[in-house]
Structures are given as structure tokens and as C-alpha cells.
Amino acid sequence: MIERAIALLILTGLFFIFTLLAFFFRHLVYQFLCILVLMVLQGVLYLYLNAEFLGAIQVIVYAGAVLIMFLFTLFLFPEEELKHLKIDLKNLKYSSFLPVALFIFLLLSVLVKGIPESYQPRNIYFDLKEISNLLFNEYWLAIFLLAFILSFPMVALYVFFKREEKSGSS
């Protein structure tokens, strides 16, 4: 058991370090790299909670696909606008209040009450076969809605480019 605790401690430490780095880098691409590491770490956290499929999908979809979209968006800007970002400390203070408060609250509650038995990793087990059957047989409406949500950006993409073309030609 002690190895698992050490692993979780290291993981939490990495989360903390890269979150701080993401705040304090002055260049947007470096900040982006920190977020990439955080996404991969989140996949590892899922893996730690025995949800291996979720972890793999997290790395493939978020770290592999969505963040590449972000990166291509960053490349649309010239270099001067990416570097020497000013950290707005006043804004940071307000926006970071909620997560920090939540973190302290959770830490205190864990210290006072201890982790409930049912949240310990060995009691959580994701059987993908069961989940897949549940998802596709019972919650088919969610899949149906997801299909529309996913096809929306494709149509929006064309509309967006059509407008770009008009504004570019005029």
C-alpha cells in the first residue's frame, strides 16, 4: 500500500508544479506545454483510479486532439503577441480564489474525516464491457445528442470560413 501512497503524492506534486508553471511562464507556447503535461497527468490520475479506458481516451482526445487545435490557434498569431504576457496579479487573485478555497476545504475534510472506504482505488473498478452495454443500450439518447453536438462544429466551420472569405475579398 505504501507504494500507492507515494505514487499519489508524486502525482499530486507534479500537478501542483505544472499548474504553478502554467501561471508564471511569460510565453503562451510554454504555458500551453504546461497544460499539455497537465492533461497527460490527468490521464495518469484516471489510471490511478483504475479507469484505464478513461485515461487512454483522456490522453488521446484531450492531449492528442483538442490541444493540437489550441496550438494551431496559437500559431495564427504573430510571435510578438504570444510572448511577454503580463501577469495580471489582481485578476489572478480573484480568479484563483475558488479553486484554492475548494482545495483547502477538501484537504481539511480529508484530514478531519479521512478518505471514505469506497473512494479508495482498490474498491473502484471500471468494467468497460458493462459500461459500454449500459451506455449504448440504456442511455442511447445521450449518444444521439452527442452525434448532433459533434456534427455542429463541422457545419459551423464552413459558415465561419464562408464569412472569412467574404470579409477577405471585400
Binding site: R122, N137, W140, I143, L146, A147, L157
Partner: protein, 128 residues
């Protein structure tokens, strides 16, 4: 329900070791190379290559937006492939409803995709 007491990450532990070994291999090669290779730098050697001309400005100016639709379509299809894998894994206990909802899902996604293809979003010769 009774669950087996398994800790899945322990089977992934060798991958972490492999990652570390691969990293050490790469860095070790570079460090060994740094010990033996010559270092005669002068400023002419350090300017970026531009076919022999003086480089005209930095490269990070403005990149065509052509790559952007590819990234978005890739994200959409990645989500689709993830769902498809989950569906494949539980296929043998799937009911007819589960079977046909996936077919419907694929048809809706493909309708959006063929719309983009038809409108020429992925034709590179045509200016958008």
C-alpha cells in the same frame, strides 16, 4: 457487487520504466556527444537557413488558416473513434437498440463530414 481487488496501474508500471529508460538513452547520447564533439560557433553559423540569403524577418508571422479545419475535424473524429472503441468492446452483449444507435451515430457524423467535403473545405487548390 463484489469487485476483484486489483490495482490496474501496476500492470502499466513497466511502461513508465520504459519511458524513463528511453529518456535516459536519448539524453545520455546527447551528453556523450557533448563531451566529444567540437564547438566552434560564430554568428554566421547560427543564423537560420534560408538558401544562402540573409534571412528576412522571423518565421512566426502569419500562418495560413488552412490547417485549422483539419485540427477541428481531427478532434471530432477522435471523439468518435473513442466511442466506437467502447462500442466494439461490449459488442457481444449489445442489444439491437445498442447496435442501431451506433449506426445512426455514424450516419449523423458522416452527414456533417460529407457536407464539409462537398463544400470543399478540404480542397487545397481552392482558396477558401
Amino acid at each position: 457487487m463484489e469487485r476483484p481487488d486489483v490495482f490496474v496501474p501496476s500492470s502499466y508500471f513497466p511502461i513508465l520504466i520504459m519511458l524513463i529508460v528511453a529518456f535516459i538513452f536519448g539524453v545520455g547520447g546527447l551528453i556523450f556527444g557533448a563531451l566529444v564533439r567540437p564547438k566552434y560557433y560564430y554568428s554566421l553559423k547560427l543564423i537560420p537557413y534560408e538558401c544562402g540569403n540573409e534571412p528576412s524577418g522571423l518565421p512566426w508571422q502569419k500562418i495560413t488558416i488552412r490547417y485549422f479545419p483539419i485540427a477541428i475535424l481531427f478532434a471530432v473524429f477522435d471523439v468518435e473513434v473513442g466511442l466506437l472503441y467502447a462500442w466494439c468492446y461490449g459488442f457481444s452483449e449489445m442489444k439491437a437498440l445498442g447496435f442501431f444507435i451506433m449506426i445512426l451515430f455514424l450516419i449523423i457524423i458522416l452527414a456533417g463530414f460529407f457536407y464539409d467535403l462537398k463544400k470543399g473545405l478540404l480542397d487545397w487548390q481552392r482558396g477558401i
